[in-house]
């Protein structure tokens, strides 16, 4: 549970800080120009963080269920459909 709260905080920060930051975004004077690299790569890293978290959840689920529900698992039991006319 604590892990989920921690993760949620990380993700919330990822979303809130840039949004607030943009309020103070740069203008049109020399020395105040936006650095396109920073904006773009920053967005990329945030998307990658979210993407890898989702990816870890999805692929972790798949790996676990392939291990747990394989027919050679000691606790493997027949599905309700086996032996019927499904």
């Amino acid at each position: 549970m604590k892990k989920f709260v921690g993760l949620f905080l990380v993700l919330a920060v990822l979303m809130v800080v840039p949004a607030v930051d943009l309020v103070f975004a740069a203008g049109d004077e020399p020395g105040e120009y936006l650095d396109r690299r920073v904006i773009i790569w920053n967005l990329f890293y945030r998307l990658m963080t979210v993407g890898f978290v989702v990816g870890a959840v999805v692929s972790g689920t798949m790996i676990w269920q392939c291990w747990r529900f394989r027919e050679s698992h000691p606790n493997a039991k027949p599905t309700p459909y086996e032996g019927t006319d499904w």
């Binding site: 943009l22 020399p30 120009y33 936006l34 650095d35 396109r36 690299r37 904006i39 967005l43 979210v50």
Partner: protein, 143 residues
């Protein structure tokens, strides 16, 4: 027809839709910022042709294969092509815009540090596409 409840699937779809909305909103905002060309940006005309880049500054200076710019100034590239499609790319500064014959495409940037960077072509344009390269030289301000 399955006789089981569907709420896990609805929650899953809800999460995915929320994620996509977030991605879209963030991307929209970032693009809006990145596309805003500053008022005083100096125009450089970039011409792509098989298989080299040429540049023309506002004051008429022309360069072939190399582009000299100054730290701290904003530059607006007006990109044209003389023959086939090319794509002007300064990867280190995330500058990318196609050079399409018959139209002028615009992209801007403001270099922050002195140094040299590669310019490459990022749209297949034939035999020497792989070597249609150039150099961006960012110099410290002269004043």
């Amino acid at each position: 027809m399955s006789g089981h409840s569907n709420w896990p699937e609805w929650i899953y779809i809800g999460v995915i839709v929320a994620l996509m909305v977030w991605v879209g909103a963030e991307a929209w905002e970032a693009e809006r910022l990145v596309e805003h060309v500053p008022a005083g940006a100096e125009t450089i005309i970039v011409t792509g042709q098989q298989w080299f880049w040429t540049f023309e500054h506002e004051d008429g200076t022309k360069e072939i294969g190399e582009l000299h710019v100054e730290v701290g100034k904003a530059y607006k590239f007006e990109i044209i092509s003389k023959d086939v499609n090319h794509s002007f790319n300064i990867h280190d500064y995330v500058v990318l815009m196609d050079a399409i014959p018959g139209r002028v495409n615009t992209v801007w940037f403001a270099p922050t540090d002195a140094g040299t960077h590669d310019i490459q072509c990022r749209e297949y344009c034939g035999l020497i596409h792989y070597n249609m390269r150039g150099t961006l030289i960012v110099e410290d301000p002269t004043t």
